[in-house]
């Protein structure tokens, strides 16, 4: 099944073959991005607007670069400083923007479901760049591409997702995507950050990190989202690092060829030891950033194709 959707709002509705379709195209864009001339014109003539209602440096830069490499006209709107502060509602902002005829809208919002709501109100293709604690689909796709390229496959792997699962949209999207591709997933963290209901998604929940890391192929670390925490989820960063920070001793429980991932930005010495993060034999953190641009190019390319196809169709009476 090819990817035929109007929007990319989350991983949850996707069929495994749609995920594969995005990843296959992204592989091609990885090659393009390694050439001297990094230019294609899949989005030529189209307008891409990045609306970030929450601070972001890397994701926004990644989307911007992806759009520019495909020839789109890219505009960044820092929504925190704009009309939202003047009391305009999300829907009014969306309607205003819609009147300017953008083609691709990349949205990040601090509240779960906000991007879905916005997508109902605009005519263009909407990409979810992270909504609250809900989903961050391009992050899960870039993680999947990184794993597929490092491990040669994206199924029947033991994958550990460690840390602040409760506050993490990255964890949710990855849990759903990797589950759809038939991997065994373990969630590791203190019960305040890995609530028991996550076991209902078919994941195994571990409170002991060493036990959880035993024989895994992939170790996916999560950032401790201090900004989303209102009151004591962990006693202190040093105790957290002692029990759940990834260091060489704990990583030794994983398979010898296990890869280490992190969505960034990292808190060195809180969830991950700096030396592990920089170990080129284990860490694929830099590759993740590279795959991010390629995956976003692929996703926007596919959405633009669907958008053009929809516009070419005769309007039914």
């Amino acid at each position: 099944m090819a990817f035929r959707r109007k929007h990319l709002l989350g991983i949850e509705p996707l069929h495994p073959s749609e995920i594969t379709a995005i990843l296959d195209l992204a592989d091609q864009y990885v090659d393009l991005n390694r050439r001297d001339v990094k230019h294609a014109d899949a989005l030529r003539g189209l307008t891409q607007v990045n609306m970030f209602f929450e601070n972001s440096t890397r994701t926004q830069a990644s989307f911007e670069l992806a759009g520019k490499r495909l020839g789109a006209d890219v505009m960044n709107m820092a929504m925190q400083a704009s009309s939202i502060k003047k009391g305009e509602t999300l829907i009014d902002t969306a309607m205003t923007l819609n009147a300017m005829h953008p083609d691709l809208l990349v949205v990040r919002h601090p509240h779960s479901g906000a991007v879905d709501l916005l997508a109902q109100k605009v005519n263009c293709a909407v990409l979810n760049a992270g909504d609250g604690r809900h989903e961050h689909p391009t992050q899960a796709l870039l993680d999947a591409l990184t794993i597929r390229r490092a491990k040669g496959r994206l199924h029947r792997l033991n994958i550990a997702i460690c840390g602040d699962v409760a506050h993490s949209r990255v964890a949710r999207s990855n849990l759903i995507l990797l589950g759809k591709m038939e991997n065994r997933i373990r969630l590791i963290g203190p019960p305040t950050l890995v609530p028991a209901q996550f076991a209902e998604f078919g994941a195994e929940v571990y409170e002991d990190m060493r036990e959880g890391l035993r024989d895994v192929d992939v170790v996916m670390m999560l950032r401790l989202q201090k900004e989303r925490m209102d009151g004591g989820f962990i006693p202190s960063e040093r105790e957290y690092y002692h029990r759940y920070g990834l260091d060489a001793e704990k990583l030794a429980f994983a398979k010898p060829d296990a890869i280490v991932m992190h969505p960034g930005p990292m808190n060195r010495g809180v969830e991950i030891d700096g030396e592990i993060a920089d170990d080129i034999n284990r860490s694929v953190i830099q590759e993740q950033v590279e795959m991010g641009v390629a995956v976003r190019m692929a996703a926007m390319d596919l959405l633009a194709r669907n958008l053009r196809a929809a516009r070419a169709e005769p309007v039914e009476a």
Partner: protein, 437 residues
């Protein structure tokens, strides 16, 4: 000349006796005058009462249900403060169309109803504008802030039927225990929202797999039990008359049962939405399903329904809460809570009857008789001498709800587009028709 209405061929729903029968009901001078539990010839009745056809109004019910009108504790009318959301006029029309003959209104307006002057304003507005009975409640603490109790005595004199801070939990137990003690001395009923405020702060959904998947801030259902446990302890201290506005979880029920068994003056309610919807109805962040407390799991819903059937939960309310489009068309976490329900109350409740959970007398025990009893009203029953507040309805008539047809100014119903059964045909307040289909 006395005004007499005779309802013939009626399926009489009597929640007091817990029975139903076909028969005739005679109302005159605003009261139920006589109930004849058999179908009789109208001519015989005229002869027996020595009247002629032009002196009375005869309503042929064609075998449809005639029941006591609904007494709805906890209706939000947005006067004063937010009349664009709901006025006494629009709420009153919605109530009449929904078979609600008595609205017991909430004080969570802007400003809160916390002075006798504000209460008198409400009572005056209500009587002028609403075609049904309106009984106002007042705030238990000033501004619903949980710091100082209101003038409970003066407010009772002005007509307050109960005292509640609505969904604001009085976190300071010292303040709450004094208010309960003072209320007991005056015989005032206190209605509270059992919820542990710290645990439920910021929550938009009930914790569980669904909320985890949607990434919404959650509250454990245990917060309700903790709130109820605290309130029960305070009742043991103070002996006040207490009603829990909404019990919606299985975990809270054993505590309620024990408290009743121990002889405390406690009753409990629940909302029609918690009895007919569950957390999964929120689906893709549908904010019309955002209510307070949040919708629960299916297990909790079924336990709550069973508690209504057994009588452990005494009262079902609509918890009618109008919200305009602007306050609902927002991301789920930011959106306002609440749903309008006066007009959908009976058809939604009929789902419980059609599903075999409740009989019609059991339903009307929870929506008419028990709320009336709790407030010391004589209505809510089909008894000679009771007010002729009646609803005539077809329990089986199917329809698809179109929210645009609702009388409420706000159209925030979770039932829009849904198939429902049960239509109100006519509503009578003190024997006078206030709604006819």
């Amino acid at each position: 000349m006395t005004m007499t209405t005779i309802f013939t061929n009626a399926r009489l729903i009597d929640p007091d006796a817990g029975s139903e029968s076909y028969g005739t009901l005679v109302a005159s001078d605003g009261l139920i005058n006589e109930i004849l539990p058999q179908v009789i010839e109208i001519a015989d009745l005229f002869r027996a009462r020595n009247v002629t056809a032009d002196q009375v109004e005869v309503v042929d019910c064609h075998g449809k249900c005639l029941a006591p009108g609904i007494v709805d504790i906890g209706v939000k009318v947005c006067e004063p403060g937010e009349r664009h959301k709901e006025s006494f006029r629009s709420a009153g029309l919605a109530a009449a169309a929904g078979g609600v003959t008595t609205m017991v209104t909430r004080p969570d307006t802007l400003p809160a109803i916390d002075t006798p002057e504000a209460l008198e304003f409400v009572a005056r507005r209500a009587n002028a504008a609403a075609p049904v009975n309106v009984l106002p409640m007042a705030a238990l603490t000033k501004g619903r802030e949980g710091r100082e109790m209101t003038e409970i005595g003066f407010l009772m004199d002005a007509g307050a039927v109960a005292f509640t801070d609505c969904d604001h939990v009085i976190a300071n137990t010292k303040v709450f225990s004094r208010a309960l003690t003072y209320a007991r001395a005056l015989g005032a009923l206190v209605i509270a929202h059992p919820q542990e405020p710290g645990l439920s702060a910021g929550a938009a959904a009930t914790s569980g797999k669904f909320a985890a998947l949607r990434g919404l801030p959650t509250v454990s259902p245990m917060a309700e039990r903790m709130g109820l446990d605290r309130d029960i302890a305070l009742l043991e201290m103070t002996g006040a008359a207490y009603h829990a506005d909404q019990i919606t979880t299985a975990r809270a029920l054993p505590a309620l049962k024990r408290a009743k068994k121990n002889g405390l003056d406690i009753t409990a309610g629940t909302s029609i939405h918690h009895l007919t919807l569950n957390e999964l109805d929120v689906a893709d962040y549908r904010t019309f399903f955002k209510i307070k407390p949040p919708l629960r799991s299916e297990d909790d819903r079924l336990a709550t329904v069973e508690a209504v059937r057994s009588g452990l939960i005494d009262i079902i309310s609509s918890m009618h809460t109008p919200q305009d489009e602007e306050s609902k068309r927002l991301p789920f976490e930011e959106a306002a809570s609440g749903a309008v329900a006066l007009e959908t109350f009976l058809p939604a409740a009929m789902r419980l009857v059609h599903a075999g959970h409740l009989t019609l007398p059991e339903l009307f025990r929870a929506i008419a008789l028990n709320p009336a009893k709790r407030l010391g009203l004589n209505s809510g029953r089909l008894t000679t001498g009771a007010p002729a507040d009646l609803v005539l309805f077809d329990p089986d008539a199917p329809f698809v709800l179109d929210r645009a047809t609702l009388h409420s100014k706000s159209k925030n119903t979770p039932f829009d587009g849904q198939r429902m059964e049960g239509k109100v045909l006519a509503t009578y307040v003190a024997g006078t028709p206030v709604y006819r289909r």
